[in-house]
Symmetry: C2
Subunit: 340 residues, 2 copies
């Protein structure tokens, strides 16, 4: 049984998209799973009723698996994270995460203000010992299997030790959420050789060689789209949050640009072409779990569709049931006692 708290006020299409996503998720999830919609109860109830009486009429049997939790404050996308956190204690973000802390929910998902979600998750769920910040793991579609890259933007100035922590966290994520056994971990650099890279990466390379991980060495930018390095599949890419964020945003933008160019040149409709490329379906994962916090907090893109949010809710269920966060805690503390 998993009870997932969904931020009904978060994202560009709230409350419609999160509520529709919740209905889609309930239809796919076994009957024991429940969803808590967190938000201003009047508009949330009205939107839920509207959807169930029209487009989502067939989903009416799932209504009893939804509860609505009132949260009068709303955090805007433009709010400063720390200010929002202090000033809006009755927001869907704070109330939703507090339910996880209190054991009233097994996970939280939001398409709202990412900075606020990171700050609130860190303060409320707390970090595993030894971490200074949570990390964001993001899935890159590749020509082969999807690859996890972390950090995607939470930690911009990283030490070598932090990059090693990302590798450990990514290893657990790849096992629990991607079903990989013995995940291949690559360190993003500018050449294969151990002596290539900036100062932090060169130091991290040496530490990773001694870590209890399937470390395959440095990988380069060119290996990412192929999802492999020298013919071997890649599961986890480790980099600091500056490089990761630049790459993620570049990828999100270059794909539609290139697809549009090819489609125009071939006289095809770009949207039709995009839909035909299942490999590149960004809705498939729908969210990125915040990694390193002691509880499930899934970050979704502000522009998420109901289908993306449905998949994010499913991810929250899997993350909760698999015990991924507890395993991350065990791995980090085992590594710390080993080093000490």
């Amino acid at each position: 049984l998993a009870r997932i708290a969904v931020d009904a006020m978060g994202g560009d299409h709230a409350p419609q998209a999160p509520i529709a996503g919740a209905l889609l998720a309930l239809a796919e999830l076994p009957a024991q799973h429940h969803i808590q919609l967190i938000g201003r109860s009047a508009p949330v109830t009205a939107e839920l009723d509207a959807l169930l009486s029209d487009e989502f009429a067939a989903y009416a049997p799932h209504r009893s698996r939804i509860s609505i939790v009132d949260a009068p404050d709303v955090i805007e996308m433009t709010d400063k994270p720390t200010v929002a956190l202090r000033g809006k204690q009755q927001s869907s973000m704070v109330i939703g995460l507090r339910r996880v802390v209190e054991g009233l929910a097994d996970g939280f998902i939001s398409a709202g203000n990412t900075g606020a979600q990171m700050a609130a998750s860190t303060v409320l769920l707390k970090l595993h010992p030894g971490l200074t910040r949570p990390a964001i793991g993001t899935i890159f579609p590749t020509a082969r299997q999807p690859v996890l890259m972390l950090d995607a933007g939470a930690n911009v100035d990283c030490s070598a030790e932090e990059l090693v922590q990302f590798a450990r966290i990514g290893d657990v994520y790849a096992r629990h959420l991607l079903g990989r056994t013995s995940p291949a971990v690559g360190l993003l650099s500018i050449g294969e050789e151990a002596e290539k890279g900036n100062a932090v990466v060169k130091e991290a390379h040496q530490l990773l060689r001694k870590a209890d991980l399937n470390f395959i060495g440095n990988i380069e930018g060119r290996d990412i789209p192929n999802g492999e390095c020298e013919g071997s599949p890649l599961d986890v890419i480790v980099c600091d949050g500056f490089v990761g964020n630049v790459l993620l945003k570049f990828y999100e933008s270059v794909a539609p640009m290139l697809i549009g160019m090819v489609a125009r040149s071939a006289g095809l409709d770009a949207d039709t072409v995009t839909r035909s490329l299942k490999h590149l379906d960004v809705d498939e994962y729908g969210g990125a779990p915040l990694l390193g916090v002691r509880g499930v907090s899934i970050i979704s893109h502000g522009s998420s569709s109901p289908r993306a949010l449905k998949n994010a809710i499913r991810m929250a269920v899997t993350a909760s049931e698999s015990g991924m966060n507890e395993e991350i805690g065990r791995r980090l503390s085992a590594a710390a006692s080993h080093t000490a």
Copy 2:
């Protein structure tokens, strides 16, 4: 009049590709321009004769504009740069660059060992005062005009002051080689706001605001493929060589991956589609000038085609005639005296 020294031994397809590139270039360049093929004279002469008696027979009139300069040593792609430089003084790389130093050639181009070319250019041509290393500027195709990104891999651990130097160098490059007036310079970061970025980027942002440049602020990964930031065209992207190298290699790999996917899904031939996308033609520039050295040294990809090398030779002519390097020297020394 420009006399360009071409490394006939450099690259995966040497000596055929550089010699064919030289012939293609001479046919396009005015008659006063000459090319010096630097390499082992026996195989170079044999290859030149073979091309002129067969595929390139129509280029025979340009034979008199080519001289062959013997260079018995060959630097391999796998040679360590500093070792190659010390041990192979009679290589095409060293002899070609020495001709530039001695005023016997106006520029040098090579598709050979990039590390060796950087090291040899730095030692022989020397850097403009105030620089610690040369930078590599690379051209990114975008949905709009091509954009210059630097550094693409020469400087991995950069100070804020070095990023500002890249901005000044890039400004001159964009004016002289891309024909941009008042080039728009963006600083690659993870958010538009001045306070977003890693420690070095945040410091560079403040320095760039005070510099005598058309600094448009931070740009993000998503702006690069569009070639614009908030609707305004982008000319120069400044980043450290670690981020730049990762992005460059990612771009070189993601484009064929995506084009191949779209082509397969639409039942088209990937090569035909690629050829139809003139925007993405990497041969169009053919090379990247090494920036910050006191002389023209153009780096071409090891896999360069004759057409790419032809364009690299044309770039060497333009760089030499435009006085770009002298202007870079003036700009850097003006900035230094202004700061001092």
